[in-house]
Symmetry: C4
Subunit: 227 residues, 4 copies
């Protein structure tokens, strides 16, 4: 009993710390929307400069959405966890590292999309997204039912299906990064489409969970579908 309570306190603190990192990582993305600088300025120049920054706005929107959805998923997965061990702690640390690091290829994409070097920017972005995906695989590895970290009542098939989905994501990001080597815009389009798809999945899951709450279903059923 005491152990359980201690475990839950640990989980809550890991979640709060991760939330803090994610909140900062998502916010500092805006630091790459830089104000155009001029020696002599006219209204026309400034309008042109602002409009020419569209790659930076696009990169900001893409990474903001990416991190927001990862926050929703992170939360839903930690909701299944009763205790933290070394693998989960370091898997989570790796995930935080890759989420924080996403700021770099976002700035790169904002700077070099729509230039002769856009292929390098998109491939680099793809590699960093692949990095977050790899971290999710480690994270889910730590949640395998046999390892004993889950709350009682979490159905093993939920973990299994999430693991499959995460693994499939890695394959798709690998493919998109490969395609970007040949066609940057197509590769970036696939990565973007993936997040639109995942936003849609998260939206539906949140609504489904909602209905269950309204029906006052049991707590474990509810969290079991939280992913």
């Amino acid at each position: 009993m005491t152990g359980s309570v201690g475990g839950r306190h640990e989980t809550a603190r890991l979640e709060a710390f991760s939330d803090g990192i994610i909140a900062i990582a998502i916010t500092i993305l805006v630091l790459d929307l830089r104000v155009p600088q001029f020696e002599v300025i006219t209204s026309g120049d400034l309008i042109t400069a602002i409009l020419h920054q569209w790659p930076a706005y696009f990169a900001f929107l893409l990474s903001f959405t990416t991190i927001l959805i990862m926050w929703i998923n992170h939360h839903a997965r930690l909701a299944l966890v009763e205790r933290v061990d070394g693998l989960l702690m370091f898997g989570n640390g790796l995930l935080m590292l890759t989420i924080v690091a996403l700021s770099y290829p976002t700035a790169l994409l904002g700077e070099y999309l729509n230039t002769p070097a856009e292929r390098v920017a998109v491939v680099t972005y793809g590699l960093f997204v692949l990095g977050t995906s790899a971290a999710w695989n480690v994270f889910m590895l730590a949640l395998r039912p046999g390892r004993g970290l889950l709350k009682p009542g979490v159905p093993p098939e939920l973990i299994a299906s999430t693991r499959r989905r995460v693994a499939l994501g890695s394959v798709i990001y690998l493919g998109a990064t490969g395609i970007a080597l040949v066609n940057a815009r197509l590769g970036l389009g696939i990565i973007t489409a993936m997040w639109v798809f995942w936003a849609f999945v998260a939206y539906r899951t949140l609504n489904r969970r909602q209905r269950w709450s309204a029906e006052a279903s049991s707590g474990s059923d509810e969290t079991a579908e939280a992913e």
Copy 2:
């Protein structure tokens, strides 16, 4: 019952994450108060340079106040919420996006107010404020009584009046942005006046709620007026 508790935990966590983002967004505004750089420096030069930065101070004060009041309102509105669904989660995400993004036109305003390009800076600022206002409309849409996210006892007319106020705000920001196309200072003056007005409303509401607390009124009455 379990569903309710789960729902309230969800709401608390959404609120904590949003608070984190808002706290960071409001703080990094200061990064646009840049120290003047000189090759050779004299006291006179530095005084002149600091005083000439008044547009940056003004933009900092305006956006700081804007975000502070949005935090107060965000808090008051989430206090009415029992459960989170997809629309509220993504409406809130959109709101966070626009609050975070406000840093960009703030820097633009700080740089180009009082230059030949000030009209472009003010119109851009107006468009971003309009963006936050649009996000508030989506957020309030998610809180419509029929959608079942509200705590029991929240009067429908409270939601309706808040929605009307938010919609009216959008119209005024649209007008102010349009006016800024013709007269930048007048447009900016209207946007600034709106925040002074909203600060006044928030001040009064906070005091009224206070008195009710002193009279030990029921919890739902209290939150019902929290907006």
Copy 3:
């Protein structure tokens, strides 16, 4: 009763939000420790450049300590509060504004201390510290016993003595800023000495409170001395 609980929840949330802002404000000070840039680099050049940055280290240490002590005080004062009203909310907002803004004169001091313009940098720093002091006066005004925000059992003389101390601080900062107009180093020395003194006061108060806890004194006595 309900009102009280609601009030305490409000206070907790105001405290958490303020803590977030203070934590960020204290951390981003480090962004002004900038890495020296060279076209051609030698070990000797880098050592010289790092050592010549001492004003930036000093400014960082001064403002870090300043904000840390303000955090300790902010916490101790909010511990006396039962309910939040408009004046306290906006007084707290003003305090957050001035704490966040302190980053600017810190960077200025780090850049221009030990240059011909150091007087301007120190006076500006003094004015911003005076700003935080003014915000503390407003904050303490909101806590006047007659306004009804305090927890039951907080002795009025505690508030009165804190208010006197805060007012005295303002006078000293005003004096130090005035002196800095004539002698920058002396003015800065007084400001620095004030923080050393306040660190000492905070240290002693924390230890005294500690002993009381050990003696299991009543909760209100304990918080009453928390300042």
Copy 4:
């Protein structure tokens, strides 16, 4: 009793504030991964520039891991604490200062590793790591059993062994910094190896604690080994 509850609340708030600072300090490390700038850009140039930034990636990984492990340790040590006094508060403040400041030598290392000035960068990094280590010594001094801050049941030998380990760490960092004066890469290698070793220790401790939780051992046993 009241004192204890107050004490625990104090500890929780110190922990939350420290978590906030650590989360920000670990996240802003990414701001030193700067996007290469070019007048005229080609894919080849950008690839070369990105690959040549390996010192910045290495420095980011090293400091991210360092701060992550310090967070795990900070958490484990505060879990032993019942009450906060002046020495612990200022020891913790000093620790936060050194963790936040680590951002500076990280940027220095990222910029000057693999240049003629790399020795200066590594020695500076070593000195700042030594600073964090010194802060840990003060922190552990505050936790000496005789000072009365610990929860009942924390075995004195746990504190003693942690203090020895922290002191040994300081000696090793001092040695590594000295070695870096002669051979920068070797010194940096020792510092890096230390963190790999500490990650391994933290990993094992987390797993051990985990098993105890599963056996539902008593709360104090559990926290006693949390370091």
